[in-house]
């Protein structure tokens, strides 16, 4: 556990993406099986080991420490597990600290009543860093300062031959801790794990935002248009071995949408938009949020917020990989498949006929339905390529302007909101002097959300605080807010060089990974589109 504890500690303090990858790479390259596989599971959130309640830790502390000293220490440190990890008295023991796999195996096979003595013995044999990791692990409070995606990039980098992280992504959901075949493959000791018919995730194809300059260069005949739906993008995977709904970030969200899973009585991989649909009409995104992040869903929830999937692409049909086919051909296959299968709770996202770009502009300008964010433009000859290939797919949102920003700080509000963290400072990515990505704050929003969302955000902030400065909390840079605003204006008073007019939270984006939030250049490009904004600011 020493190396794992050290990894966690360094990840918590390391801001840089590349540095995090380097730390993960070193861990995977130097640690033995099966420990590194358990560590990998912990980093990717596949390991859930809530076996102890905070009360157990309090009891342990009481058994070994003076209550007054404990109280002063807890008051100073502010975190229960950390306090106990730091003040746990040194014990006379020759026992080595437990290995990660030993911890996991022992906990899985132990009775609750034996827990205190098991954990005490481990704490005795460990140093403060291992004690902290151990206590966080067994109480389910482990926070890893890295995403599953970074872990997969690091895994690709330890391979003894060129491996694309997306290759790992594609087999990931067919694997299980401690991932021995995966490591064997990466180290050239075994074949590539074949998920066969396991319902694995396929990295999605993404679109670039379309700006005025891009529009002029497009040839209308090359592109197909669809509505950009205001839901969450999902990948439906149904094979003989199982059914899964994945978010675009590769999270398995099947449990939140059992009625969709039930309707997936087919063998295909489909790309589409999950929406709340009532009587054929798409409900606002806020309704869909009621359904997100749930481990179980009741009948009432399913009745009040009925979901459906609007399909727009087919990746696999009966085991055949259709991704190399051009979009037009895949669309034809999708339609034929749909006519034949007629799956419940699913329909096809319609194609929008147009002849010229001017016509398309008019269509976009007229699109005022709340469920439509704008248009998607896809090249008719585009293969389905993971990631964001240039010039293939475009997303063309309608006004107002929005950016996807990362929540950086939260501050308590005033009056009725004085107990809530209701003022949010958000930032965008940019390249710093050394060439690494950093977040730069671009604005502050304190409206646009419902009371329910406020409660949710407040709780998130409290659970993800990394530092406190009086009334302000710095949070983990992992939550994306979609910010709507009227205009972006150049500003000398802001670190970012840009100020937003009337920024508000358009919606919460728990489904979006922070590294996919927008870049400062994207916002700057919007400023250049509106040179008159500078004068308005005066």
């Amino acid at each position: 556990m020493i190396a794992f504890a050290d990894l966690l500690e360094r990840l918590v303090f390391t801001p840089g993406r590349n540095a995090k990858i380097a730390l993960l790479r070193r861990y995977f390259a130097t640690q033995p099986d099966p420990d590194r596989g358990i560590g990998l599971a912990a980093v990717t959130g596949e390991l859930s080991l809530t076996v102890a309640k905070p009360a157990l830790i309090r009891d342990l502390a009481a058994s070994r420490t003076d209550p007054a000293l404990f109280a002063w220490s807890y008051d100073y440190v502010g975190d229960l597990a950390e306090t106990v990890a730091l003040m746990w008295p040194e014990a006379e023991t020759n026992a080595p600290p437990p290995t990660l796999s030993e911890v996991v195996e022992t906990l899985e096979g132990s009775a609750k009543a034996d827990l205190p003595s098991i954990v005490s013995a481990w704490l005795d044999a460990s140093d403060a860093s291992v004690r902290l990791a151990l206590l966080k692990l067994i109480t389910g409070g482990l926070r890893v300062g890295a995403s599953a995606r970074l872990a997969k990039i690091a895994l690709a980098e330890i391979a003894s031959f060129p491996v694309d992280p997306d290759e790992i992504e594609e087999i990931w959901h067919g694997l299980a801790p401690p991932y021995l075949p995966l490591f064997a493959w990466l180290e050239g000791r075994g074949p590539k794990p074949d998920p066969l018919h396991a319902p694995v995730f396929r990295p999605p194809m993404l679109a670039h935002p379309l700006e005025a300059a891009d529009l002029a260069s497009l040839n209308a005949a090359d592109y197909r248009a669809e509505w950009k739906w205001d839901g969450i993008r999902v990948q439906l995977v149904a094979t003989a071995e199982g059914r899964r709904i994945y978010s675009r970030g590769a999270d398995d969200v099947s449990a939140a949408f059992p009625e969709i899973v039930e309707a997936m009585a087919f063998d295909a991989v489909l790309d589409g938009e999950l929406l709340v649909v009532r009587d054929g009409a798409v409900a606002p995104f806020a309704d869909l949020q009621q359904r997100l992040n749930r481990k179980v869903v009741g009948a009432k929830m399913m009745r009040d917020y009925p979901v459906a999937v609007r399909l727009y692409d087919i990746l696999f049909e009966a085991g055949a990989d259709l991704r190399p086919l051009p979009f037009d051909e895949r669309r034809r296959r999708l339609q034929a498949w749909y006519e034949r299968v007629r799956p419940r709770l699913m329909d096809l996202s319609p194609m929008i006929p147009f002849a010229t770009l001017d016509e398309l502009c008019a269509i976009r300008a007229d699109a005022r339905a709340a469920s439509i964010e704008g248009l998607m433009l896809k090249r008719g000859d585009s293969a389905y390529v993971p990631g964001r290939p240039k010039g293939q797919w475009w997303k063309w949102k309608r006004d107002p302007l929005t950016i996807d920003a990362v929540l950086m700080y939260a501050q308590r509000g005033h009056g009725k909101r004085s107990s809530y963290y209701s003022d949010y400072t958000f930032g965008l990515w940019r390249r710093d002097a050394a060439g690494a990505d950093e977040l730069v704050p671009v604005g502050k929003a304190y409206s646009g959300f419902t009371d329910q969302e406020l409660g949710w955000l407040d709780k998130w902030v409290r659970n993800h605080t990394t530092a406190r400065f009086g009334p302000v909390r710095e949070v983990e840079k992992s939550f994306v807010l979609e910010i709507a605003f009227d205009a972006a204006q150049l500003s000398g008073r802001h670190k970012s060089g840009v100020a937003l007019r009337f920024p508000r939270v358009a919606r919460l984006r728990p489904d979006k990974p922070a590294h996919e939030a927008d870049r400062l250049e994207t916002l700057m490009a919007l400023v250049e589109n509106r040179p008159s904004g500078v004068q308005q600011a005066a």
Binding site: R10, V12, A434, R468
Partner: protein, 325 residues
């Protein structure tokens, strides 16, 4: 002050402008380097370890405190009773200064910077190994370690040398002059170079030492993608380390940790201790359970921060002499 006995040369203990100053030879040398020869004291009297002078009816002598070069405990004997003022001290071996000598006494005036059981400093060699492992992992980045200019800086250099780091160590300008005083006093630090005036790439893979205030400030922009480290006992608590924007916290302290504070009180055998510079209540509570009477000694101008690089050093205007006044 008309007459001051100075325990060590940290600026919150060694104030300028006293008429007469009594201190160890090394402390006087450091004070002259920091304050200037004239501001270090109207008359400066050096007292070697174990030498005794009489002040009024009191016999005064100095004993090593192990905190930084020249750091002393003040031993006061009067009519068969002995008071020892520890000043700041540590118990771990430190190649850059003489080690702490426990002296039996009737009243022990102890510091309490890290007087909470959560503060238990790890082996400094372990922390240096973490630093060197990071240097190996990120060979294209510069590791910049924030450290106090007097004491911590030179100890880090000595620890790095012990760990086999023979390459030049680069210094922020504020650190260089005190390293020179250490060399004059016979403490050898190996090759040292300025961190300034070099191309950014020249410092790739290098270790740079700088004052804590500089490591996350504009000064550090000259460095190649720096890994910011900070060497301090406070780094043991995550929240403290986080709030400093540190990427690599190193728990290396020049103060006694919780266990060492308690051991020292037991070792000197004083029936009464006066506790200052830190969290008095926990130490008083703990020694009380062992039959030792503890009193909190609130010093004039005492600030909330220790000199381990987390507060302006001037915040703590206390001085060993105030105890005697």
């Amino acid at each position: 002050m008309e007459r001051a006995i100075i325990t060590h040369a940290h600026s919150d203990h060694a104030r300028p402008g006293h008429s007469s100053v009594l201190a160890s030879p090394a402390t006087l040398a450091l004070m002259r380097a920091r304050l200037g020869a004239d501001r270090a004291g109207g008359s400066q009297q050096a007292l070697g370890w174990g030498e005794v002078i009489r002040v009024g009816g009191v016999e005064v002598s100095l004993a090593p405190a192990g905190h930084v070069l020249g750091s002393a405990q003040i031993v006061l004997d009067h009519a068969g009773s002995r008071v020892v003022v520890s000043g700041d001290y540590k118990r771990r071996p430190d190649p850059t200064c003489d080690g702490f000598e426990p002296i039996a006494c009737d009243v022990f005036v102890t510091e309490a910077t890290f007087a909470l059981p959560v503060f238990r400093h790890p082996d400094p060699a372990h922390e240096i190994a973490r630093l060197l492992a990071s240097v190996a992992l990120f060979p294209d980045r510069t590791h910049v370690v924030g450290c106090y200019a007097l004491g911590k800086c030179q100890r880090l250099i000595a620890l790095l040398r012990e760990a086999g780091w023979d390459a030049p160590i680069h210094l922020h300008g504020a650190l260089a002059s005190l390293c020179a005083v250490y060399e004059d006093q016979g403490v050898h630090l190996g090759p040292l170079k300025p961190a300034t005036g070099l191309a950014r790439d020249a410092l790739k893979g290098a270790i740079v030492l700088a004052p804590p205030s500089a490591v996350t400030d504009r000064w550090a922009r000259r460095l190649s993608e720096p890994v910011v480290a900070l060497a301090s006992g406070w780094m043991r608590v995550r929240q403290r380390a986080k709030s400093r924007g540190v990427e690599l916290p190193l728990v290396i302290s020049d103060h006694a940790d919780w266990d060492e504070l308690n051991e020292t009180v037991d070792e000197v055998g004083a029936p009464e201790i006066w506790v200052t510079h830190g969290r008095e209540e926990a130490l008083i509570h703990c020694v009380g359970a062992r039959g030792v009477r503890g009193r909190a000694l609130r010093l004039v101008g005492y600030g909330d921060e220790d000199d381990e690089g987390l507060g302006p050093e001037e915040a703590r205007a206390a001085d060993a002499v105030d105890v005697l006044a």
